[in-house]
C-alpha cells in the first residue's frame, strides 16, 4: 500500500452509475461478486436521470400486434441495417422482461385502463411501445436501480474519475482514478471492468449532454487496446431548444411529437410532408433532424433559426399531465406556454451510436476482462438509434455485461498491477499543474467544439473533415500545453485538462471514421456521397490504437441467419 494513493479490490469494477452501470452492478452482485461502482457525479445524477420519453419494449399492452419481431425490424430499419443483428434480436426479445423486472423492483409506470404499463408512440416504432412515467422516465429508472443496488450492497465511489485503465499483459486489471474532492489518487484492482460511461456530446457546443459526456470510457478503452466501432454515427436529435441562447441544445423530448406535436416552418407549412409523408413528425431522428436543418438553411427557419413545434392543439390539462417537465422547462427558461403557443426547436447533439466494440451475448470488448454497455458500447443501434431504445439497451445489455463480468471474475485469478502504469498515469494527469503560463483548458475546449460543430456536423464533406483533422492535431498540441491555477481540490479546470484528452481522442475517431465512410447512412450524411452504398452497408468501421497512431479499418458484418432475414421480410 502506498501513501500516494489508496487501493480497493473488487471482482467487478463498474465505471459509470447510469442505467447501464447500475444494472450491470446489480446483476454482478446477484452472482455473488464483490462490486464497486465509480462515477464522476453524485449517485443518481448520471445522464439516465434526464431521459424523458420512455423505454421501448414490445409488451403489447396497448397494441396487441406488437412483439419482438416488429421491434427487431424497426430497430434494424432505423439503424439502416448496420446494427449488430444479434444484439438487436436479444434487445427486442429481452426488453419486456427487463421492464417487468424494473416494475417489480418498485418503478411506477403510467397505467393503461386495464391496469398495465402504458405505452406511447415514438419515432420509427411501428406500434405504441414506449413505457413511460410522464416525461421523467429516466428519473424513475435510475432511482429504482440505485435503491436496489445500494440495498444489495455495492460499494459506491462517487465523484471519482477514472483516468486510465490498468492492464496486466493482454487483460484488463483495474483502473486509476482521482477523487474530485481532494484530487488524491485511487487505484482499483479488478478481475473484470465494465465501462458504462455514456457518450461524447461535450465535444460539440450545441448538445443535450452534460459535462460528464467527454467520451472518457471510449478513449480509455482505446488507450488500453480495445477496439472502437462505427464512431461516425453521432445522433443529432431534431428537437433541442434554440432560444434563449443559454438554453440552446437542451432537449425537447420526442414525446412531444409522440403525443401529437406538429412541426411547421415560418410559413406555417407542415414541412415533414415533403421529407417523409408516411411517418411525418414520427419519422426517424436522422430524417427529422436533416429536414429541420434543410428548412432553416433554405431560409424557412423561425426567428431564431429553428422550426416550430406545436402541441397546443391538445387540451392544456393533457399537455401538463403528459409533458409536465416540458411545460415547466419552456415556461421558466423561454417564457413560452406550450399549451398556448409553439416551441422553437432545432437539432442538438444527443447520442453516440458508435463506441466500444463488444460481443453481443457477453458485452465483452476486444480486450479480455473489459466489458462495455449502454451508450459507451456500439452495435445495437447501427447507423441511427430509435428513441426509447437506449433505456431498454441499458437494461438488457447492462444485465448481460454484469453477468458476463461476474462469470469472468470467477474464472480468472486476480491480476497483477504494474506500478509503472500507475506512476505514469498519475504524472500525466498532473501534467497541467507542472506547466506555467499555458492556456486555460476551457479555451481549448471551446475551440474544439467549434471545429466539431462546423466541420463534423449534420452534413459532412471531405474537405471539411480533412481540415478538421488538421485542426484537431493543432488542438492536441495546445491541450498538451495548457496550465491551471489552484490546488487539486475540486478543481474543474484541472478536470477539464484531463477530459480534453478523451474528447480529442473520440473527436479524431469520429472524424476519421466519417471520412472513411463514403456514403450517407442514418446519422452519417455526406454531401459528396449522398446515397446509401450497398458496398458500405456490409461494413463496420473499426478504430484501434496502433502505437501512437490511430488505426482504421473496415470489418465485414456477420451474415444474418435465415430466420432473421425472414423476420425482416415479413412486413406488416
Amino acid at each position: 500500500m502506498s501513501d500516494r494513493f489508496e487501493t480497493h479490490e473488487h471482482d467487478v469494477l463498474v465505471v459509470g452509475a447510469g442505467g447501464a452501470g447500475l444494472r450491470a452492478a446489480i446483476e454482478a452482485l446477484g452472482q455473488g461478486a464483490s462490486v464497486g461502482v465509480v462515477s464522476k457525479s453524485l449517485l443518481g445524477k448520471a445522464h439516465t436521470v434526464m431521459a424523458e420519453g420512455g423505454i421501448a419494449a414490445a409488451m403489447a399492452n396497448v397494441d396487441s400486434a406488437d412483439g419482438w419481431k416488429p421491434h427487431f425490424r424497426d430497430t434494424m430499419r432505423g439503424g439502416k441495417m448496420l446494427n449488430n443483428w444479434r444484439m438487436a434480436q436479444l434487445h427486442a426479445q429481452e426488453a419486456p422482461e427487463r421492464v417487468k423486472e424494473l416494475e417489480q423492483w418498485g418503478a411506477l409506470f403510467d397505467r393503461t385502463e386495464d391496469g398495465r404499463i402504458l405505452q406511447r408512440a415514438f419515432g420509427g416504432h411501428t406500434f405504441r411501445r414506449l413505457c413511460h412515467v410522464g416525461d421523467r422516465t429516466g428519473l424513475e429508472m435510475i432511482r429504482t436501480l440505485q435503491d436496489r443496488g445500494v440495498h444489495m450492497g455495492f460499494d459506491v465511489y462517487m465523484e471519482c474519475t477514472i483516468v486510465r485503465l490498468l492492464t496486466d499483459g493482454e487483460r484488463c486489471a483495474g483502473a486509476l482514478a482521482y477523487w474530485r474532492e481532494t484530487g488524491r489518487f485511487v487505484v482499483f484492482k479488478a478481475k473484470s471492468v465494465v465501462m458504462a460511461t455514456g457518450g461524447i456530446g461535450k465535444a460539440w457546443p450545441i448538445t443535450s449532454n452534460s459535462w460528464e459526456y467527454t467520451g472518457d470510457g471510449m478513449a480509455l478503452a482505446y488507450e488500453a487496446g480495445a477496439e472502437l466501432m462505427d464512431m461516425e454515427f453521432v445522433q443529432f436529435h431534431p428537437t433541442g431548444m434554440v432560444w434563449p441562447p443559454g438554453v440552446q441544445g437542451i432537449l425537447v423530448t420526442e414525446a412531444v411529437r409522440g403525443e401529437g406535436g406538429i412541426l411547421r416552418n415560418k410559413n406555417g407549412e407542415r414541412f415533414m410532408e415533403r421529407y417523409d409523408p408516411k411517418r411525418m413528425e414520427l419519422s426517424t431522428r436522422d430524417v427529422v433532424a436533416r429536414s429541420i436543418y434543410t428548412e432553416v438553411k433554405e431560409g424557412r427557419g423561425t426567428e431564431h433559426g429553428g422550426a416550430y413545434l406545436d402541441i397546443s392543439h391538445k387540451p392544456a390539462e393533457y399537455v401538463k399531465k403528459k409533458l409536465p417537465s416540458m411545460y415547466h422547462q419552456f415556461k421558466e427558461l423561454a417564457d413560452v406556454d406550450i399549451t398556448k403557443g409553439a416551441m422553437e426547436v432545432g437539432p442538438t447533439l444527443h447520442y453516440m451510436m458508435g463506441g466500444i466494440r463488444v460481443e453481443a451475448e457477453t458485452a465483452q470488448s476486444s480486450l479480455p476482462g473489459l466489458f462495455a454497455a449502454g451508450e459507451a458500447a456500439a452495435g445495437l443501434h447501427g447507423a441511427n438509434r430509435l428513441g426509447g431504445n437506449s433505456l431498454s439497451d441499458l437494461l438488457v445489455f447492462g444485465r448481460r455485461a454484469g453477468l458476463a463480468a461476474a462469470q469472468h471474475a470467477k474464472e480468472t485469478p486476480a491480476p497483477n498491477l504494474d506500478e509503472g502504469q500507475i506512476t505514469s498515469g498519475e504524472s500525466e494527469a498532473l501534467s497541467a499543474f507542472q506547466r506555467q503560463g499555458g492556456e486555460n483548458p476551457y479555451a481549448v475546449h471551446r475551440d474544439l467544439q467549434k471545429v466539431m460543430q462546423n466541420l463534423v456536423g449534420i452534413f459532412r464533406i471531405r474537405e471539411d473533415m480533412e481540415k478538421a483533422l488538421v485542426e484537431l492535431a493543432k488542438l492536441k498540441e495546445r491541450a498538451a500545453h495548457t496550465s491551471i491555477e489552484g490546488s487539486r481540490m475540486f478543481n474543474p479546470g484541472w478536470h477539464m485538462s484531463i477530459e480534453l484528452k478523451s474528447m480529442l481522442t473520440v473527436s479524431e475517431a469520429v472524424t476519421r471514421s466519417a471520412l472513411m465512410r463514403e456514403e450517407s447512412r442514418g446519422a452519417h450524411s455526406r454531401i459528396d456521397f449522398p446515397e446509401l452504398s450497398p458496398e458500405w452497408g456490409t461494413k463496420n468501421s473499426i478504430i484501434w490504437r496502433d502505437g501512437s497512431a490511430m488505426g482504421l479499418r473496415q470489418d465485414k458484418l456477420a451474415e444474418m441467419p435465415a430466420e432473421l432475414k425472414q423476420v425482416l421480410a415479413e412486413d406488416k
Binding site: V49, E113, R136, H151, E332, N440, G493
Partner: protein, 246 residues
Amino acid sequence: MAEALLKVFRGNKDGGQSVEFKVPVAPGMVVLDALHYIQGHLAPDLAVRWNCKAGKCGSCSAEVNGRPRLTCKTRMDSLPQNEPITVIPLKTFPVIKDLVTDVSWNYKVNKKIPPFTPKPGASWKFYQDDVDRVQEFRKCIECFLCQNVCHVLRDHDKYDQFGGPRFFVRVAGLDMHPMDGVSRTKLLKNDLGIGLCNITKCCTEVCPEDIHITDNAIIPLKERVVDEFYDPVLWIVREIRGARET
C-alpha cells in the same frame, strides 16, 4: 452587452470570502450560465456542481441572493437589476469548496430506509388512480433544497435524530406505492424523527418540483405515526383544522 456583477463565495471548510466577477449578460441567461462563464474565462478552478442544466438532476443547488435555488433555473432577469448577485453554497451542509458542499449525509439517511418490498402475491395490476398520488413524491430530483431550509437541520443540527423532508418524501413514495408491503412507521418515528417536524412548510416553499411536501407527504405520514404512536404537533394541528373545518 449588459454586464452583471456576481459575488461568489470562494473558499473551503476552513472559511473563505466572497469574490466579485463581472459577467456579460445574454437574453434568457440563468445564474448557472454566469457561473460557467466565470469558470470558462475568469476562474477555471471555481467549484460548482451541475449536470442537466434543465432542472432535472438536482445538482446545481445554491443560495442566490439569500434564497435556496437551482442555479440552472434561476433567470438573471428575475433578479433585481443593477445590484450584485450573491451566490453562496447551501448553508446546511459542510462546504467542500466554493459552491460544492458535502451532501453525503443524505445518502446515509437514504440507506436506512427499507427498500420497496412487494406484498406477497402482488398481482401487478393497478390503475392510474392508484399511482397518481404517489407519483408526486417520485418526482423528487434530490436537490436537497428542502433539507437546506429545514430549521431542524439548518439551525438545530439534529442530523442524528432527523431524516429531513427529502426522506419523508422518499418514505411516502415507498409507503404509498400500491404494491409495497412493509411498514416504515417505526422508522419514521425513531430513526427519521418525524415528530421533530413542526410543519413550518419552509421545505414545500423551496421545492423546485412543486411537491407538496408538508401537506401530501409529512402530514399523512404523521397520521400514520399517530395511529401507532403519539405526536404532539399533529395533535394540535388536528385540533385547529378540526375546529376550522367543522
